[in-house]
Amino acid sequence: MTIIQTQSTQSLIDTKSEEDTPLQRWHRIDVHKQESRLGFTGYQPFTPNDNRINVYNMIRELQALETNWDQCGAPPIDPKIILAVLILVNDLSQNQLRNLDIVPIANGTLQLEWDCGPRSLEIELESCSSMRYLKWDPGHDIEEEGVLPLADKQSIFRLIKWVLDD
């Protein structure tokens, strides 16, 4: 597995600079293709057990999906969705990143999935500003689905807290 070494995600997606768009900054995470061109140095390694390493590697692989990745004509994952996931992940703690999987959906979006025993949580980014979630624990009659603004971090944190049973 390729391990990404980078600055904090916040610095990658910081929107303060007027020169770089958030998307351009996102590309800096792709060290193999972008590092030389951007002349970006100063990477700092994550700690060996940093949960972000696996998450960022998942995102990198999903970013690389090409048209027809599902053999049925699916488009590549929308770069704006990738950026939205990156921003969301950046706001999550190490604990909240436990058991997280990110999977592609054929319409060019992404779904975040947490599994913890009989419980699971799915968060599907429907756009850069909204998400559809599914709380799933059929053994306890929990099959709750809803839509939330992506900016509603507190609600997202509550969902993750539920699935991780913290």
Binding site: C72, V103, I105, N107, D115, E122, L134
Partner: protein
């Protein structure tokens, strides 16, 4: 009995459908389950098990594609309707059917995809390069 060669008709409830899993992440090895993302389509292709074999179905896809199976009647009960109809891109595949999600205006899009994923049996997990 419907003519399987060129008729479009509902697949009977006792039949099973074979669904190709075309991305490794759609199979969650640790949890031994299929991700609902594999069914987040308004319409997707399957093969009717009684008219093919897993080997023939897999031959239509890249090496390493996985395959799962679900019962057509149980899927229909949760609004996934299997219709035996030709794939314009592979007209020679007489086992081909489309599955239509008939509740597209529902606010519960994910719930049904998850139910369908959970009712699947995994036959061959995906191991795509």
């Amino acid at each position: 009995m419907p003519d399987p060669l060129n008729q479009t008709h509902e697949v009977e409830n006792h039949e099973n459908a074979l669904r190709a899993l075309t991305h490794n992440d759609w199979w969650k090895e640790k949890e031994k389950r299929i991700s609902s993302a594999a069914f987040r389509y308004p319409k997707f292709s399957v093969d009717i098990e009684s008219l093919t074999t897993t080997q023939i179905t897999l031959s239509h896809f890249h090496e390493g594609t996985g395959i799962a199976k679900f019962n057509v009647g149980k899927a229909r009960h949760i609004h996934f309707d299997t219709i035996h109809e030709q794939d314009p891109l592979s007209p020679e595949n007489k086992a081909h059917a489309h599955v239509y999600f008939r509740k597209t205006n529902s606010q519960f899009k994910k719930k049904y995809a998850r139910k369908l994923a959970d009712m699947c049996s995994m036959l061959i997990p995906p191991t795509l390069p």
